[in-house]
């Protein structure tokens, strides 16, 4: 979903990956790790879809995020009016910023960041799933995190996390 920016395409991708897993079940051995094997199918299915998505961009995952709350804010621009007092509003604003920055990342950086933060794969497993070197995975993940940091460094949540 975060990768394809489209719910229907994400569902279709997951179905295809499940079919791949079932039809290639005999290629899995006990000495293999399951998650890199599984996300390897995902990676191979996602790459052509991603290339197609770059040709015909959609609204992105932001379109699926719930709209911002009505208030509480003084003016129309929340950043100009200072930090909003509502906690839910701040969470929505943070999620929107994260998703915007996620979309701005490169294809590989976005995939690696999501495999780490959402799928919670280890670095070695990400390297196996994507076919990259482990050092390359580290480099791209650190670059993606630093880009993400630029987007959230002025938020209260970030300041709280620093403490």
């Amino acid at each position: 979903m975060y990768l394809l920016s489209d719910k229907d395409r994400a569902v279709a991708l997951c179905q295809q990956v499940f079919l791949d897993v079932v039809s290639n079940a005999d290629s899995f051995h006990l000495e293999m790790q399951f998650r890199p094997w599984l996300y390897g199918f995902f990676h191979r299915r996602w790459l052509p879809l991603q290339a197609e998505a770059e040709v015909t961009p959609t609204d992105g995952p932001i379109a699926d995020v719930a709209p911002l709350s009505e208030e509480p804010r003084v003016g129309s621009d929340p950043s100009a009016a200072g930090p909003p007092s509502s906690r839910a509003y701040r969470s929505q604003l943070l999620a929107r910023r994260v998703l915007e920055r996620l979309q701005a990342l490169s294809t590989e950086g976005r995939e690696i960041l999501l495999l780490k933060l959402v799928a919670n794969l280890r670095l070695r497993e990400i390297a196996q799933a994507t076919g990259l070197q482990e050092d390359a995975v580290r480099s791209k993940l650190r670059h993606a995190l630093e880009r993400m940091q630029e987007a959230v460094s002025d938020t209260e949540e970030y300041a709280r996390a620093l403490r």
């Binding site: 997951c14 179905q15 079919l19 995190l145 940091q149």
Partner: protein, 311 residues
Amino acid sequence: MDCEAFDKVVLDRIFSELDDVSVGAVQRHVAHCSRCRQIESSLRATRDVGQLAVHEVPPGFLDSVVALERQAHAILPFRQRLGRLVSVAASYAMRPQHAMAVLALLMIVGSLFLVRVRPDSRLLVQVTERGVPEGEPETAAPAARAASSGPDRDRYAGPEPKATAGEAVAATELLAEARRAYRDGRFAEARDLAERVTAGGGAEASAAALLSAEATRFESGCEAALPRLATIRTRSAKSAAEEATWHSAECQLELGNHSEARQLFDSLSQSAAWGSRARERLRSVEPPAAATSESNPAPPPAAAGGAPASP
């Protein structure tokens, strides 16, 4: 650890993928390096803040996946479906437990070929005193052998079997009877009796063989006796062999084979028992005198007594 090494492991550190030894090194480095401490804390904060919500699986997703899988399986070509079945069966067959079970089964089936068809029949076999199964004809009996006609070299070929005490007494009596028949001129009867003793083996076998050969000589002629004497010469003890050599030489003289006779007498010339007689006969069968000596064979009863006649 320095800052360069820290940069390589900082992600492992914040995602808790670092081993214990490296964790200690990173902690010591961060404790006195403000730059690395700031990098670690900022990346850790970004990780915490940037957590994304996991989407719920849409309703009916699993059903749609199952339906798609069935559909895909239904349209598989026959060869691919067969290949899938074969690969599944092979994956089962390659498991060690199954391989061991097949091996055990093969061993059990193979052992069935080694089992006798009627194992209880072995218990029913009874043998006669001579070791022949009771139900079979006793073809190895001495009487049956003695009844056979004509020369039989193999009869003397093997080592003399050991006879029991009862058999030895019977062999002695048989041999004595054979000698009596020989002296009375019943050479065929003497030969048959002596052959029975020879077939039974024992201490009298050599003497009986000699007597049988001599009886054959006087019944059927030297040509029939020579093979028997030759067998005794090569297979029997020294005394019997020397006596057989003497009789062979006499037979060769009788047949006119002077050179063979001389060779045989010559082989006896060093014998303690037969040497003097052999040397005397050698002189008598000198080529000029060969014609006169051929007509003087040794008297049969003296040789047939089982011992040298004069020495």
